[in-house]
Symmetry: C2
Subunit: 151 residues, 2 copies
DNA sequence: CGCGCTTATGTAGCTTGCTAATGTTAGCTT
DNA sequence: AAGCTAACATTAGCAAGCTACATAAGCGCG
């Protein structure tokens, strides 16, 4: 298998396993990876955000976010609030009940990162991150302008 | 955001975009990423494989593979054949009709890898791959023995 | 004012991950 | 031989990606 192919295979594998492990650790707390990511981003945004911005921060499409928010709303962890002066938009707000959940989810995600990555040499991790960012940029360019030339 | 957190974010983002782009390129050919991965692995295994081994090679659980195979069987691209001497197992065999599809899918995946990765310096890509493999190993260890000690 | 473009969100339906539970067959063990 | 356990496949049901379409509101232009 070529270096390129191995890279892609490893990428998928790591992402998938990470998701599975994260999901498993959250099972007891009623959360899932998708929802917990939304909670964390919301919390990092100061507790509220426009739905549109949230989708972008999570790197998911709007319909995906809608379902995550439906779930969180059902659990009483967020509210969709109308935005004064813009009847289309919603502001997503963390409720008080969300605080402990955010705390727990944050602990789990941080703990998992630490456990998995602690013995990877910083320099190599930085190189890997740089590569991933290059690849992400490349993918986004190809994704937005796929027709015509050969980039 | 910490280096660790950035790494995880980048990882997810790249994997997700890769999937989306791959899916988009295959849309015209009736294939999807999951099924096409199964086809490629099958082809690389000489055109047939035990279902169990296929799941492992794809890094997916059995039920996931079952559905992929259901789809491929419906499209007439594979057959499930009984294994002489082992009535539990299935041997998955590529049909003749699969050859051109495999060809196309292989071209798309190779082309995508090439387009996205061609300008990443080999040395950095190798480092990134090494990191990913370390992480994968770590995740698998944590996944199989999560209870008790702190690894 | 109304027509149409854009923006923001939501709905429908597909795919593909997963776990848990169900059968069925094979292989041991007693 | 009967019964337990392990292996292999499947089904059921949930989660979370996606695209395509729908709904509704703001904005601009004639």
């Amino acid at each position: 298998m070529s270096l390129n192919a191995e890279f892609v295979t490893a990428l998928r594998r790591v992402t998938q396993r990470w998701r599975t492990l994260w999901d498993a650790e959250l099972r007891g707390s009623g959360q899932t990876l998708g929802r917990s990511r939304a909670l964390l981003i919301l919390s990092q945004s100061g507790g509220s955000a426009m739905q549109r911005d949230l989708a972008e921060a999570l790197s998911v499409e709007h319909p995906t976010l809608v379902r995550l928010l439906d779930g969180l709303e059902r659990q009483g962890l967020i509210r969709r609030e109308p935005v004064p002066g813009n009847a289309r938009a919603n502001r997503i707000v963390l409720t008080d009940a969300a605080a402990p959940v955010v705390q727990e989810v944050d602990g789990v995600s941080e703990g998992l990162r630490e456990r998995v990555l602690h013995d990877i040499p910083r320099a190599e991790l930085e190189t890997a991150l740089r590569v991933l960012n290059m690849v992400a940029a490349r993918l986004e360019k190809l994704g937005t302008a796929p027709e015509g030339g050969q980039g």
